[in-house]
Symmetry: C2
Subunit: 110 residues, 2 copies
Amino acid sequence: MANYSADLDGVLVALADPTRRHVVQALGRGPKRIGELARPFPMTLPSFMKHVRVLESSGLIRTQKSGRVRTCTLNRDRLALLDDWLAEQRSVWEARTDRLENVVTKEENP
Amino acid sequence: MANYSADLDGVLVALADPTRRHVVQALGRGPKRIGELARPFPMTLPSFMKHVRVLESSGLIRTQKSGRVRTCTLNRDRLALLDDWLAEQRSVWEARTDRLENVVTKEENP
DNA sequence: CGAATAGTTAGCCACAAGGCAAAGTATTCC
DNA sequence: GGAATACTTTGCCTTGTGGCTAACTATTCG
């Protein structure tokens, strides 16, 4: 589990920005170099690089430099953290729904 | 669909904070009044209220005042936006995996 | 070698986010 | 009616985020 909450926090902070979500989506189609990734966005390269670093430090992507080119890859495992959290929430309110149904049942058959 | 991206943005921004995630989790167990919700957190009420407003404007919770008490309720539909986005990502990279498998297959049977 | 390419570093700026204290407004209780 | 309760509003402060320009450091191509 290794600090689930802090990790989840990083992932959510990273995804709470449209540019970064677009990058995640683009990388879903396969690895890309920085320049290629940056092209669609109306911002300078240094600004774009900040987003890349946020994504990298959240663990959502990995990057690797070979020669003068840096290539980015999506790390799908990290998105599972979100799945897990959502599942947890669902389990919380399903438990509650069950309790409510018990109440209703008891009222129906007193 | 009504501006899916902006809505998703609001939801993710709201969830990208541990305090607000805890509130969502607490409300999963049922509606609660502001004071009750705020109690576990080491911050003043005005600060806490800012979080409540962020959650409310993201649509993740609804609030309603009766007398001097404001009650908060979780709006589960909003979490579905996240489910949808995750499903979309999965479909993107599953499509890619399929393409890769085609390549492998072609290489195996040239 | 020299020029073009691909990032990177450094430094700056504006504004949003998250926190506080203090004072204000309804409600509700005695 | 007066005191206690349950938020609300105001105003302020610090830090973090996202963006820019300009200058710098490799690589690679001709």
